[in-house]
């Protein structure tokens, strides 16, 4: 156990862990921001996992075809959006259960990505690192936040953008309204299921971008195991943050930090149990969800479908 604590102290004082925490957490944050909007509108969108993987795959294909990172990212957005289109229209136009649809979409994307990857085998390269002049000189957090590959920086404007959309636009107000009280929203003339679909599309776009970021801005290759359940961690980050924007981003970074810690342990020469380290982010998620979920009020109609005339 003493070994564990000295490892913790050592690792958290080295600057590299913060850089990798931002990379790993940033990936989760892309998805979590979109998931937050979907959940504000009342959907627990578990197909975010599928959106991430689809975005990662189409991003890789886009890059392979065009040899351009920006176009790869755009292709990733389309991949993520495609999954969101299936999810949204099956669950909020037809009335199939959102979890059934999401889960099936995840399975389908996993199969499709594996099948197409075996046949197309896209070649990917990592985007270049862009050090932002003055800011990257700040000790410890400077290189972590401002010395990353350039697609990472797409995340930063997305945070205020999402905040503005959710809290400063009429659309955002309606999104939050349909998540809290769909019946009242319906009566006041808001098309509840349309807003919910749009919120899911937004989530799909961000998750698709996140997936493409994973491939083009972080790993530099595509593998069907690349996402590996971290879409679900993104959902947990939203819970962690108590459905607040700031908390969600913080949650994503905390999970990123846990992931970075796991990767840093063997590099620095410590021998902690590998399985324990691999389980750490998930255990942390569960513990945090258990401790925190009741402290915050979730959107009142979260995961409840809206069908006019039925409560």
């Amino acid at each position: 156990m003493g070994d564990f604590f000295s490892a913790v102290a050592d690792i958290f004082s080295s600057p590299t862990i913060y850089g990798s925490a931002v990379r790993l957490g940033g990936f989760i944050a892309f998805a979590a921001l979109g998931e937050l909007v979907a959940e504000k509108a009342g959907t627990i969108n578990i197909s975010v996992e599928g959106s991430l993987l689809a975005g990662a795959f189409t991003g890789a294909i886009g890059y392979d075809l065009t040899r351009s990172v920006p176009l790869g990212l755009v292709a990733g957005i389309f991949g993520g959006l495609l999954v969101a289109l299936i999810q949204a229209n099956m669950s909020h136009r037809l009335t199939a259960d959102q979890f059934v649809v999401g889960l099936t979409a995840n399975v389908l994307v996993l199969g499709l990505a594996g099948f197409l990857n075996a046949n197309l085998d896209p070649v990917v390269r990592r985007a270049s690192v862009l050090e932002i002049p003055v800011l990257s000189d700040i000790p410890l957090i400077g290189p972590a936040l401002f010395g990353q590959t350039w697609p990472t920086y797409l995340l930063y404007p997305l945070v205020p953008l999402t905040w503005w959309l959710l809290y400063k636009t009429r659309w955002g107000l309606e999104v939050r309204a349909v998540g809290e009280n769909p019946q009242a929203s319906d009566v006041s003339g808001i098309d509840v299921n349309k807003r919910r679909r749009q919120a899911i599309y937004y989530g799909g776009i961000l998750a698709g971008l996140g997936g493409a970021f994973l491939v083009l801005g972080q790993i530099g290759s595509f593998d069907t195991a690349a996402v590996g359940g971290r879409g679900f961690i993104a959902i947990a980050a939203v819970y962690f943050g108590g459905w607040t924007l700031f908390g969600t981003v913080l949650g994503a970074l905390v999970f990123g930090l846990a992931d970075a810690f796991r990767l840093a342990v063997p590099v620095l020469g410590y021998h902690l149990n590998a399985q324990m380290l691999a389980a750490l982010p998930y255990v942390l998620t569960l513990v945090v969800m258990y401790a925190i979920t009741k402290q915050f009020r979730q959107p009142a109609a979260l995961s409840r479908p809206f069908i006019r005339g039925l409560r």
């Binding site: 037809l94 889960l103 979409a105 399975v107 359940g229």
Partner: protein, 377 residues
């Protein structure tokens, strides 16, 4: 109750009968269309690889049924899938969406491996004890999610899912640690990350019939399918479960405590997955040894089987055989040059396709009801 009104006379309405026929026909064509669509997309993907769907279909059929010894293999695979699906059905009927079967299955297999390799006793007793402990282990693992759900409001969808990833690590730890389950036989070169095999007398009996062989797991699963169908459909207990799923508020008012009944439903749901794991191990899965990749997606696929069967336990039987045959058939695909992941796609598309017709029907009925209500008002 001074005056009992006679019920209004039912007047046979030819138009009504006509409408019913039309809606049946509509439903049938919807099903044909959506399943046809799913198969069409799959065929397109096959065509993309330069093979033909006839060849692929032939290979699947050979691998699942026609080649010697294959349908026994298919039944072997179908047994745990059906068990997982039955657990899922119980959960869904109670309105709980347990999607962590892959992990619960591993827990069940681990319990079986523990009883089989670490305890001494007569084989039959160990076998039955292992299956029972497997159920408890799987159920207990799912019950963790129930505790989180009913004490703190954490949705079981997410907690059960996260528990899967933890289960993978627990199994990995168990089979690589000497004092837990790792194979201690020094003569085995690759003892690195497996448990010792179950001793011969702890194996499930194997049925030999028409040149095929399969463990009796499928028979157990079939019996349990009937039992679950009976319990859910014909008993007070099943009624309470379904009531909870339909309307928790009404359930609460009639004395069905959501937390207690729901915990039971989740426990049972996990117990079936755990039993599936134990049956897989005792039925010869990965040569009677627990390994890190032991579950091989059976948990996920059993879950899809339940979705495909739309939570009807008896319908789950043919669906489990269908999915099992896709899986066993897939191992014959190599000859056609088509990647075996095509099977995953077919499975996913089929589930999505079968979601559409009932949803369309539901919307139509709602619309009809609403417009009828509108006319009266």
């Amino acid at each position: 109750m001074s005056e009992l009104k006679a019920p209004p006379q039912q007047i046979p309405d030819p138009e009504m009968a006509d409408q019913r026929w039309r809606s049946v026909l509509e439903m049938a064509s919807l099903y044909v269309l959506s399943i046809g669509g799913a198969l069409f997309i799959s065929a397109l993907l096959v065509a993309m690889t330069g093979s033909s769907w006839q060849k692929v279909f032939g290979a699947l059929l050979d691998g699942a049924f026609l080649a010697p010894g294959r349908w026994g293999e298919t039944l072997t695979v179908a047994a745990p899938m059906l068990l997982v699906a039955l657990g899922m059905v119980i959960g869904v009927k109670a309105g709980l969406f347990n999607i962590g079967q892959e992990g619960q299955l591993l827990m069940g297999a681990m319990a079986m491996a523990f009883v089989g390799t670490k305890l001494d006793g007569p084989g039959v007793l160990l076998l039955i004890g292992g299956l029972a402990l497997g159920m408890i282990a799987g159920g207990g693992y799912a019950a963790l999610a129930a505790v989180m759900r009913f004490r703190r409001g954490v949705p079981e969808v997410i907690s059960t899912l996260l528990l899967v990833f933890i289960a993978f690590q627990i199994i990995g730890f168990a089979v690589t640690t000497d004092w837990v389950l790792r194979d201690l036989d020094p003569n085995r070169p690759s003892r690195a990350s497996t448990s010792a095999p179950l001793p011969d007398d702890v194996h499930l009996p194997i049925v030999h019939i028409f040149g095929n062989e399969f463990p009796i797991g499928i028979i157990v699963a079939l019996l349990l399918a009937g039992f679950v169908a009976f319990m859910l459909g014909r008993t007070l207990w099943g009624f309470r479960i379904r009531l909870l799923g339909h309307n928790p508020r009404v359930a609460q008012k009639t004395g069905v405590a959501a937390s207690r009944m729901g915990t039971w439903a989740l426990f049972l749901s996990g117990a079936f997955a755990g039993l599936a794991g134990a049956v897989m191990l005792a039925g010869g899965g990965s040569s009677y040894r627990l390994t890190p990749g032991f579950s091989t997606n059976i948990g996920w696929q059993g879950l899809l089987v339940a979705l495909l069967a739309q939570s009807r336990p008896l319908v789950a039987i043919p669906m489990a055989v269908l999915f099992a045959s896709l899986r066993t058939g897939a191992s014959f695909l190599a000859a056609t040059g088509v990647d075996r992941k095509i099977v995953d796609i077919v499975q996913g598309l089929l589930v999505l396709a079968l979601l559409i017709p009932p949803a369309v029907q539901f919307i139509r009925e709602r619309r009809r009801a609403l417009s009828a209500a509108g006319e009266e008002a």
